[in-house]
């Protein structure tokens, strides 16, 4: 029993050491702009542009459901223009960033971990090193930067789409007029609602890509190892997103 606890503690210390090393190497690689500039554009497309369909799909239906649930809850008790307030606030502060973040932890986190994991087990990462490339600068920095920059942009578009579908739902199914919806939208709005959601999304993008890169580059054991890293990347980044969501709510709201 003591032996097992000791081994577990040692494993945790080693994992913390590996993470520290990884982050130090990442920071050291950032000034190597010439190496990561080219791959950055490719990763911005892969992580940002290619994620738009799934993110906008989720946002569109979230807007519809928010409007309908708000109208169901408020009918007869609260003025219905508050539907606009609920749709906007929920999309900006919580559902836009978190639902998109969770979806991207699956799409982007899995893709990054699987790609880098496959490169690791097929010696492509070693090959990069022998060609005098720093894998941190060539593989990790562009993915992490792309995630941090593009996820907030995807979330921003998702928020806009969610509000538009909420508005269209209010017009067609709740019979709310556009001026009433806009009145609700403006009510209680603060600029903080916008930057809070986007800053939170940037931290989600950073987390998803960091976890994917770390687990991908730690892969061992062939195809089974790639599967293991991919699954862990999705689960861990989804859990971290929920923890970060609570953390930012405590710190910033």
């Amino acid at each position: 029993m003591i032996d097992r606890i000791g081994r577990y503690a040692l494993d945790r210390v080693r994992a913390a050491g590996r993470l520290g090393h990884f982050l130090a190497d990442l920071v050291r690689a950032v000034p190597d702009v010439a190496t990561w500039r080219g791959p950055l554009v490719v990763q911005m497309r892969k992580i940002g542009v290619d994620s738009l369909p799934v993110a906008l799909f989720i946002a569109a239906f979230t807007g519809v459901v928010l409007a309908l649930q708000a109208s169901y809850t408020f009918t007869g008790t609260v003025p219905l223009y508050i539907v606009g307030t609920v749709v906007a606030k929920s999309m900006m502060l919580e559902l836009g960033p978190v639902l998109t973040g969770l979806a991207l932890s699956g799409r982007v986190g899995a893709s990054v971990a699987a790609e880098l994991g496959t490169m690791k087990v097929t010696e492509q990462v070693d090959a990069l090193e022998t060609l005098a490339y720093d894998p941190m600068a060539y593989l990790v920095v562009p993915r992490v930067l792309a995630g941090t920059v593009m996820v907030p942009l995807v979330v921003a578009l998702g928020i806009v789409v969610g509000i538009i579908t909420g508005w269209l739902t209010s017009l067609s199914l709740i019979h709310l007029s556009t001026p009433e919806f806009v009145k609700g939208l403006k009510l209680l709005y603060q600029f903080k609602d916008t930057w809070f959601g986007l800053a939170k999304s940037a931290s989600f993008g950073l987390t998803i890509t960091l976890v994917g890169c770390l687990l991908g580059l730690s892969t061992w054991g062939g195809a089974e190892g790639v599967g293991r890293s991919t699954t862990r990347a999705v689960v861990i980044s989804a859990m971290l997103i929920l923890m970060l969501d609570a953390f930012w709510a405590v710190v910033l709201l």
Partner: protein, 241 residues
């Protein structure tokens, strides 16, 4: 000159290299043979600093590899071409882009890069594959692209990790010819890790047998063929224990 000096490496407490000592002279092709899992590839990875030694070191032209800082290691890697067992080509890049990758890193002019890529692909008899992706190539062609990627750098040394493993006999012979031609035309020093004895006899100037973490015997092809060491004989004749 590449010197393995008392190199030691263990994985999970199991010693893979246990005092491995060997000198590879400039201009020669040294073949390292040994049973599967004997540590041949592990030894090779120490030459370019892909693995840190537990003890001892590899000395390349007077530089102790494990003591080099990042710029020193980058400079060393610029002098060494490494051909991986399964080629390790980048799936998302075309053959041309794969071969050019190391040259782009050196910031050579575009025209120079194009010329070197064409020359390298011509040397490995694959001049018409430039725009194809690795997934569209056979195993032998991928390995030849791996060699092209290494020689495009015009290295002083080329390290081959199991270059004929998994290939049919005819393709293996083509690979052997290619390694000999590369050595003759470019005058590079080579280390070839293999357990394919026909290949070892064809490409090697000298052969070293790695056994239980250290060199069991090193000598010319004729010396190894005439060895009286029972372990060496068992290996080169392919006899079960």
């Amino acid at each position: 000159m590449i010197q393995f000096r008392d190199l030691r490496k263990a994985f999970n407490g199991r010693a893979v290299l246990d005092g491995f000592t060997l000198e590879v002279q400039d201009g020669e092709t040294m073949v390292i043979i040994g049973f599967s899992g004997a540590g041949k590839s592990v030894a090779l990875k120490h030459v370019v600093g892909l693995l840190p030694p537990d003890g001892g070191d590899v000395i390349v032209d007077g530089r102790a590899v494990s003591q080099l800082d990042r710029p020193g290691l980058t400079a060393l890697r610029g002098e060494i071409g490494y051909v991986f067992q399964f080629a390790a080509l980048f799936d998302s890049l075309t053959v041309e882009e794969n071969v050019a990758l190391g040259l782009v890193r050196r910031r050579l002019p575009e025209r120079e890069i194009a010329t070197r890529v064409q020359d390298a692909l011509r040397l490995v008899d694959l001049p018409d594959t430039a725009s194809r992706y690795p997934a569209e190539l056979s195993g032998g062609m991928r390995k030849r692209v791996g060699i092209a990627r290494a020689i495009a750098l015009r290295p002083r040394y080329i390290l081959y990790d199991e270059p004929t493993t998994g290939l049919d006999p005819v393709t293996s012979a083509v690979m052997d010819q290619l390694m000999v031609r590369t050595q003759e035309q470019l005058g590079v020093t080579g280390i070839v890790v293999t357990h394919d004895m026909r290949s070892a006899y064809t490409v090697g100037d000298r052969i070293a047998m790695l056994y239980e973490g250290r060199v069991r015997q090193v000598g010319s092809v004729a010396e190894i063929q005439g060895s009286s060491d029972p372990i060496v004989r068992q290996f080169i004749e392919g006899r079960p224990a």
